[in-house]
Symmetry: C2
Subunit: 191 residues, 2 copies
């Protein structure tokens, strides 16, 4: 049985896919999950509180994806991570969702709670990239690369794709960006 909180989180996701962050309101989410506004206010103080909760919910989901990933091979795992973070043409909803998420990220200077959540998400992705690259180095799958430096470079490239091409709905750019990131990873393999 799905909890009320989870239904509110799912409704928030759908509203962010359909609308922008600035159109998001408690009323709009209540409409979407077919519940009352007072039920939402029972769980969350206001829109900021709800969105901070939503970012935690996303982070938990990301953590679960990482734990249940079906490969331990460092190369495959890195490529799967890239697939997970970059929106794919076959899932156009994810583009709209990432657009809304980009908007919320740009609100971090004005909302400490969003800032904390994005910082936690960024740190989690960075550590996953770095430990996977380090494992690849230990196993001899990768050579001639510094794990910490390479993880930061990958994260900047991923971030670049999300901020540069996603708001433009530029699918060709998104795909070129993904190819650039994959080529970077491939370049660490021994000749």
């Amino acid at each position: 049985m799905v909890s009320t909180e989870e239904r509110i989180m799912e409704a928030t996701y759908r509203v962010l896919v359909d609308d922008s962050y600035s159109e998001l309101s408690i009323r709009r989410i209540a409409d979407e999950f077919d519940g009352s506004q007072s039920l939402i206010y029972y769980h969350y103080d206001d829109k900021e509180d709800l969105l901070a909760g939503f970012l935690t919910y996303l982070l938990d989901g990301f953590e679960q994806e990482l734990e249940t990933a079906d490969t331990d091979d460092p190369l495959e795992r890195l490529l799967a991570l890239v697939d997970l973070v970059v929106p794919q043409r076959e899932t156009p909803d994810l583009l709209s969702f990432h657009q809304a998420l980009g908007e919320i990220r740009m609100q971090t200077p004005y909302h400490d709670r969003y800032q904390d959540q994005f910082a936690a998400f960024d740190a989690r992705l960075r550590s996953e990239l770095e430990t996977t690259i380090q494992r690849g180095l230990d196993d001899g799958i990768f050579v001639d690369v510094d794990a910490s430096d390479a993880a930061e470079r990958l994260q900047l490239l991923l971030s670049g794709v999300l901020c540069h091409y996603v708001p433009m709905c530029d699918w060709d750019g998104i795909e070129r960006g993904q190819t650039i990131i994959e080529a970077e990873i491939e370049s660490w393999r021994p000749d």
Copy 2:
């Protein structure tokens, strides 16, 4: 003598440094440039029209910076471009300005006119990067790199720094990002 349009543009810049995009209003700009709202409305239809004009004004400024750059050496010119795009600690206003600019960029899915301006800016930066890298290859200053691919990679890294670290006010991250970009450029030089 500075024109009214230019005074409005300068006031818009200062408002974006001090406030967020969402707080920007014609009234706020009128206060800042010490003029009347009706004078602004004489030149611009509404906030969207004014901001589209502001983005054109920025693009013109960027074009002028490129034309008056005091070096033709491809390596120095690329490093100067990176300095121009990445905010520096000694100019903290630029951080606030880039934060606001990031917010406006994330509004592009909902405003075609912003989207056109950002697309023009991105294309201008890309072409400058690519022709400079190509000139470096022709002169033998750079080797073993595809100019178009390398220009896109640099642009994604620059975009990553602006979208990842700027909203977090993470100066250390901004500086590490700049070092990563500079190392990428240095890696194209012959041994």
